[in-house]
Symmetry: C2
Subunit: 407 residues, 2 copies
């Protein structure tokens, strides 16, 4: 008997969340004897609860479907919606009624640890209701902070964007002979994975960025001054990469240091990045030109600088999710497992969604140098395979061609 | 008799300032019967005055020379150094002694309008001294604000970067169903050319960015509120592009609006971008999620998203400069002239450096819509040819391979 399937995207978008969507659709279309309609939740579980849904089976021309694989963002739209803890909540009755009315056999949710919470709750509720529906999670997050899996789809592209862009900022920062400091602020409120990728930007040993600070190591302005003094003796044009989430030994975020002093014209506290705050400290202490750059959302939405390895793995995670659902798995998340050996090889696997949801995998302490201002070579070996390869360029009028939902 | 030549780069770097350097070197190497040594000033005229110079004739392997063409930044290093107005200044005696000692026949300066001031002064001083040296300027600036020339090398790549990136930010900003406003701040303190390029980002008529504000049209927060109210009725996820240099009808920069209220922990005024300031205004007025993104230096240093048309024109401007110098021209700047007709064709020409230096070409008022919040189609026709084509990707370990000077 044919199963209808439904797919949702949740949480912040990445460069490859659509590649996973593509993987599920592509695999579904190639198994027409087993798969009936392929539905998409518009705006995730939140949109689905309010009746937003679309038929993906016939939504794409072959050319459009190919574009989907390389289009950043979340084609279906996304949400940040937490399902209730109480399994008796009417939200679950509504959800299962809808799923049953649509004759859904498998439910796929592409997202981070909050989304795995949704998968875990739905599969638990499904078991209570003796529902035959498979609930499978497909991981995505640029933060790379999910446990169990070697890495998350989305991380390789963010890492490649950060490394490429920091390499270019280093070139830009090095043109004048006058001493200068450039601070680059990178994403990762609780985990330093994205910021650590800036170490890949170096063209030769001893190249900028000379200093890299992650949230996993207590930050101190005094130590920063000492580190910068040493670094300025090596290069007149210093580039420093900092994670947005660096905090001091008391656990206070550096980005909160100046919040008393900074209010907008309405008296509201201004949300200032830590790089902007450190810019002031460094200017005051060293008296040289200091600039801060915040790479911002481009870290997660740059399709042009995405990693082909990441795109292919995200697609494979989607395909594998469908295969596992057809085999009857539920309450699971797809994982990426690195095989031992010098050549990089990855095979997909499954983990309990319960083992992932609401947990965070931070950057390993042993991959940070003892002085807390650099990354060890073990990380380079770990990350390099993940940033390999460039996606094909689909251009129209000199700009990247992307697919989008019109509604 | 063979001439030695010398080349300098000056002002802020762009994605293609090295393509012009490549053009001069490439043309010089192909004319070994006329050209002797090819020197580079390290850190522009400022570095040259203090004795910093390198021999470019034999500095590159063929592979490295090819990389130079596609490497962003200023390979030779740059400076912001204004020569004195008084032609009797000892700086000129020193400069001409150095040039004569090196047997220089032609001097090339790749830069913006300040650099053309250097070319103009040196050629005027050369005439007073009856020097046979040719002084030729090669234009570059992402700002596109030089008069006489149709556009400047560097602009096409900045425009392509802005259009590609804003297109991706629009995808990123559109994933949630909750209303939101995203402000993108773009470069151009006095001219709106770079910001106007965000209009190219639209995938279909009526797509974001729905509102675009340039410095050439007086900005008003009240009008912004009215514009945003109308735009939010069309889309829940509004993207607005603003130039860093927008100012009100009294001529006050919007980025100066909140400077009294914002001080860092040392009591210094914080330099905040106008998007950050408008973020506060819009949050307060509309009560929706507002985010601001500053594209920052990536606009001028992204080699990955550069325009091939721009790179080739920058290289051609370099080659043409050398040809003109050999023909005896001096005190000139290379211009790019667009030929009439529906197909885009550009031919290089020459203008007096004096006609360019210290002058600015702002964005044409007639290309801004009467309500001041959008760009007219005439600009799209003007700009589209300039962003065409992608440079080849030279990758090493998954990252762009760039050449750099080691010293």
């Amino acid at each position: 008997m044919k199963k209808n399937i439904i797919i949702g995207q949740s949480g912040g978008p990445t460069a490859v969340i659509n590649a996973s969507l593509w993987g599920i659709i592509e695999e579904g279309l190639s198994r027409r004897e087993e798969i009936g309609a392929i539905y998409g939740m518009v705006y995730g579980i939140e949109g689905f609860l309010s009746g937003r849904c679309m038929d993906l089976s016939a939504a794409f021309s072959p050319e459009d479907l190919a574009l989907l694989k390389y289009t950043p963002g979340a084609y279906l739209g996304s949400c940040r919606h937490k399902l209730p803890s109480n399994m008796d909540s009417p939200a679950y009755s509504l959800l299962f009624e809808k799923l049953e009315a649509m004759d859904i056999g498998a439910f796929f949710y592409i997202g981070g640890n909050d989304s795995m919470d949704t998968v875990e709750k739905l599969s638990r509720c499904g078991a209570l209701r003796r529902s035959p529906i498979s609930f499978i999670g497909v991981p995505k997050t640029i933060d790379n902070d999910l446990p169990v899996t070697d890495h998350t789809p989305g991380y390789g592209s963010a890492a490649k964007y950060v490394a490429s862009t920091v390499r270019e900022i280093v070139l830009d920062a090095s043109v004048y002979q006058q001493p200068s400091i450039t601070l680059v602020e990178l994403m990762g409120r609780h985990a330093g994975w994205v910021t650590a990728a800036s170490a890949l930007a170096r063209k030769f040993p001893g190249d900028n960025p000379l200093l890299i600070y992650l949230p996993e190591f207590p930050f101190s302005v005094e130590r920063l001054f000492a580190d910068v003094e040493k670094a300025l003796a090596k290069t007149p044009n210093l580039v420093i990469c900092v994670s947005e989430g660096i905090k001091d030994s008391a656990g206070k975020f550096i980005c909160e240091y100046a919040s008393e002093a900074q209010t907008d014209t309405f008296g509201h506290k201004m949300l200032t990045g830590c790089a902007k705050i450190l810019e002031g400290y460094l200017k005051n202490h060293f008296g040289v030109k200091v600039r801060s750059v915040e790479l911002n959302v481009n870290q997660r939405c740059s399709g042009q600088l995405a990693s082909l390895c990441d795109i292919e793995e995200a697609a494979e995670a989607g395909r594998f999710a469908l295969k596992c659902a057809l085999d009857g798995a539920t309450g699971k998340m797809v994982t990426l497992n690195r095989l031992p050996g010098s050549e990089y090889r990855m095979v997909p696997g499954l983990a309990e969604a319960a083992a992932v949801c609401n947990k965070e995998k931070t950057f390993p302490a042993q991959w940070i140098t003892p002085d807390g201002c650099d990354i060890r070579p073990e990380f380079i070996s770990y990350a390099l395979p993940l940033i390999q390869g460039e996606p094909p360029r689909a251009a129209e009028n000199g700009l990247p061609r992307y697919i989008y939902r019109r509604s």
